[in-house]
């Protein structure tokens, strides 16, 4: 009898356990983890079996072998007998230059196109809608070929190149622009410009705060702003040792900075494509601000340009910034398509690398990690920005 009752109580316990919601909450976590681990083990095992079958093993030591192929353009020094990892760094530097320029230009063009869709100017409004409608509905790869072959491909050959004011030269090899005397000076110039911009924003905020709190003043800050601007201008003009492109007899250009046709075509396609999406994000953000805000601001006597600038746009930023993060990440990942028009970005170099070494798995691991890190950095930055524009509730 005794053993019988204890058995019954065990069954009873099991029953209560199975009916307990807390037990199932834990059990589901364990089961999920188990399945994920099983799947991971299966895929890793499968990879190892397949590699072993071909008599190979997983490893990254090949990255230190000489690459042996040449790369058309590079921001860092590279010779064909440098190791594979250095070739990949060249690809990364090219990708980053596309991403950096792309993000800046996309923000400017996308915001302008988004704001233009609220314009009272009929032509500007229609142009903005046409641009967004047309560009969003054509695949990026097609647009890349369009820019590469149909736009920059129709530029004249170097012998009969176009010159704009003698400052910028265009031919079917690329675009030649004035540029700082050396790479270090160019980086310095960019750094100083960013620093000056940040300082200007701080001075402006300080001045606004002072004027709100005291009703007057801000003259010193204004003088500071002007001084900053003059200093920056003087630095940029005098310290960077500008070189200007000048034509060579028989065609071609020396001096200045050459943006290859592959680079400008890739940049144009990426910027115009991504900006169309950004324009829609900006439009949605502005529309999300209630009409009451417009009306209230107008009733205070603001002109519509000022309403947008001072009242509506700052509020719209809360809605605009999170999806902008996605667009910037899309732009970053889409740079890999520039491979199709011969721009040597990291995917292109990685492709050549795995073809020459026969190590697709390792190369793709490196590639995935690289894109992941780039996207995480962008997200980190955008999250900081997002925090700054949220409503501060006290």
């Amino acid at each position: 009898m005794n053993s019988d009752s204890s058995g019954e109580s065990f069954a009873q316990k099991l029953k209560t356990l199975l009916r307990d919601e807390r037990f199932w909450q834990v059990a589901f976590q364990v089961i999920t983890l188990g399945i994920v681990l099983l799947l991971a083990a299966f895929f890793v095992g499968n990879l190892n079996r397949n590699l072993a079958q071909q008599g190979r093993s997983f490893g990254f030591s090949f990255l230190f072998n000489p690459a042996g192929f040449s790369i058309g353009e590079s921001l860092i020094r590279y010779r064909p007998n440098d190791p594979y990892w250095r070739a990949l760094m060249v690809g990364l530097s090219n990708t980053l230059s596309l991403v950096a320029a792309g993000i800046v230009l996309t923000t400017v063009l996308g915001t302008a196109a988004g704001v233009a869709s609220f314009s009272k100017n009929w032509l500007l409004y229609k142009l903005s809608r046409l641009y967004v409608g047309l560009v969003r509905n054509v695949p990026l790869l097609l647009q890349l070929f369009f820019w590469y072959f149909a736009i920059y491909g129709t530029l004249p050959r170097p012998e009969s190149q176009i010159s704009a004011l003698g400052l910028v030269f265009l031919n079917n090899r690329g675009v030649y622009i004035p540029w700082a005397g050396s790479a270090v000076l160019a980086l310095l110039g960019i750094g100083v410009t960013i620093f000056a911009a940040v300082m200007a924003v701080f001075l402006w905020q300080w001045r606004t705060k002072l004027r709100i709190e005291t009703g007057t003043g801000g003259k010193n800050q204004l003088m500071g702003l002007i001084g900053l601007g003059v200093l920056w201008l003087a630095f940029v003009i005098l310290a960077l040792q500008w070189t200007f492109p000048s034509p060579v007899d028989g065609g071609g250009v020396t001096g200045g900075l050459r943006l290859t046709r592959e680079y400008v075509a890739a940049l144009s396609a990426l910027v115009f494509y991504t900006s169309a999406f950004v324009a829609e994000i900006v439009r949605a953000g502005i529309q999300s601000v209630s009409r009451g805000q417009w009306e209230a601001a107008r009733s205070l006597g603001f002109q519509s340009g000022l309403v947008m600038q001072l009242v509506v746009f700052p509020q719209a930023l809360r809605v605009i910034i999170p999806p902008m993060n996605s667009e910037f990440m899309n732009l970053t990942k889409n740079t890999s398509l520039a491979f199709a028009i011969a721009f040597p970005e990291i995917y292109s170099v990685a492709n050549t690398t795995y073809n020459q070494t026969g190590r697709p798995v390792e190369v793709f691991v490196v590639l995935m990690a690289t894109y992941l890190v780039m996207c995480l950095i962008i997200t980190l930055g955008m999250n900081q920005l997002n925090r700054a524009v949220q409503f501060k509730e006290r």
Binding site: F28, I31, T32, I35, L38, L39, F42, N46, R49, N50, Q53, Q54, G55, R56, G68, F69, S70, I71, G72, E73, P80, N81, F145, F149, G153, R157, N172, R173, G252, R261, E262, F339, A340, I341, A342, P344, S348, N351, T352, N355, Q356, T357, G358, P360
Partner: protein, 345 residues
């Protein structure tokens, strides 16, 4: 209930994945030869964009030297030269497609190199076309030697040995040139044609074939330089001797048939040959075919349906084609060329 549904679906997925594991494991243990026989069709990786080697015409039919090698293997294994599914692969996808088992073999202008043979894990069947890397330029460009490429641009297709040879040659000559590397051969030739590059480099045969598709073929000339040796031939994956042997000996068989003078037209005269070598070759004596896992008369199928190497060459690249290439080093060893089949014995 929804939770249970998700769990069941995940479990099903995991089981399906494990199921997939056992089947791939099974076929990995056996040979691809059995797989091709079971399937009743050969899957052959080709380029599809090079006239004379592999090209798709308006009707969607494939033709060319590389294509005929696929047909020969299909005729030998399955008795039907048309039992081939062609996969168009570009130069960057071809090795992964082969290693992943998507195609049974490559017949796609692939250069035999030691690193591909060893570290990339491929197995190279005999060379079906001996080629060399050349350079295509505009006739009026004034470029005569590789040194003239100082500061100029060269279009090249990525994933090729061409890319490496070009770099080596230019490094040796100390010429600072600008490579413009395309993934797609069509884009590379288009960019060359509209003037992005002064030169287009690839295997000479490919340049000659591609020149015929440019708008004004007469405006382009090949420089008188050969940058490398390019032995091109079919490829299979490492560690499958049974399948590799089949591809290897069918390829040799094409050459041996020409050496014996057996063509698709006159094969009937050899049916009761007194020559023991020919009798063995055509499967009337011995077990050369069955030892390999093929029908004993596999070469009869190959020759009647595809022809010997000479016929294949003439039809696609030689006298009977638009290219009219010389046999040159692609002649039989008996005619002073490089083609030599080990004995069928």
């Amino acid at each position: 209930m929804r939770k249970w549904g998700i769990l069941a679906a995940t479990l099903g997925l995991a089981l399906a994945a494990c199921g997939g594991d056992t089947t791939t494991g099974g076929s990995a243990a056996g040979s691809r030869l059995d797989l091709v026989k079971d399937r009743g069709q050969l899957i052959c990786g080709v380029d599809g964009g090079i006239p004379g080697f592999s090209f798709v015409d308006e009707t969607g039919a494939f033709s060319g030297l590389d294509v005929d090698v696929c047909k020969a293997v299909a005729a030998a294994v399955l008795g039907d030269a048309e039992a081939v599914e062609y996969r168009r692969l570009d130069s960057t996808e071809r090795f992964t497609a082969l290693a992943g088992g998507e195609v049974d073999m490559l017949s796609r202008n692939t250069t035999w190199t030691i690193s591909r043979d060893t570290s990339v894990g491929l197995e190279f069947a005999p060379t079906t076309f001996y080629d060399g890397q050349g350079m295509l330029v505009r006739a009026n460009s004034g470029i005569e030697t590789l040194e003239d490429f100082q500061g100029r641009a060269v279009c090249v297709e990525t994933g090729t040995t061409t890319e490496l040879n070009l770099t080596d040659q230019m490094r040796q000559l100390g010429v600072d040139f600008e490579p413009v590397v395309f993934q797609d051969a069509d884009a590379a030739y288009a960019a060359y044609d509209e003037g992005r590059c002064e030169g287009m480099t690839s295997d000479k045969s490919q340049l000659i074939a591609r020149r015929s598709t440019l708008p004004n073929p007469d405006e382009h000339v090949l420089l008188d330089v050969t940058m490398s040796k390019e032995p091109l031939g079919p490829v299979t994956v490492n560690n499958d001797s049974a399948w590799f042997d089949v591809v290897k000996w069918v390829t040799f068989g094409l050459m041996q048939a020409e050496e014996f003078g057996i063509t698709s037209a006159n094969i009937g005269d050899f049916e009761a040959s007194d020559n023991p070598d020919i009798a063995r070759f055509l499967g009337q004596e011995g077990t050369l075919g069955t030892d390999m896992g093929l029908p004993n008369d596999f070469m009869v199928q190959v020759i009647t349906q595809v022809g010997n190497y000479g016929e294949v060459f003439d039809r696609n690249l030689g006298a009977d084609s638009q290219f009219n290439l010389e046999r040159g080093q692609n002649a039989l060893w008996t005619d002073g060329g490089l083609l030599y089949s080990p004995p069928f014995r």
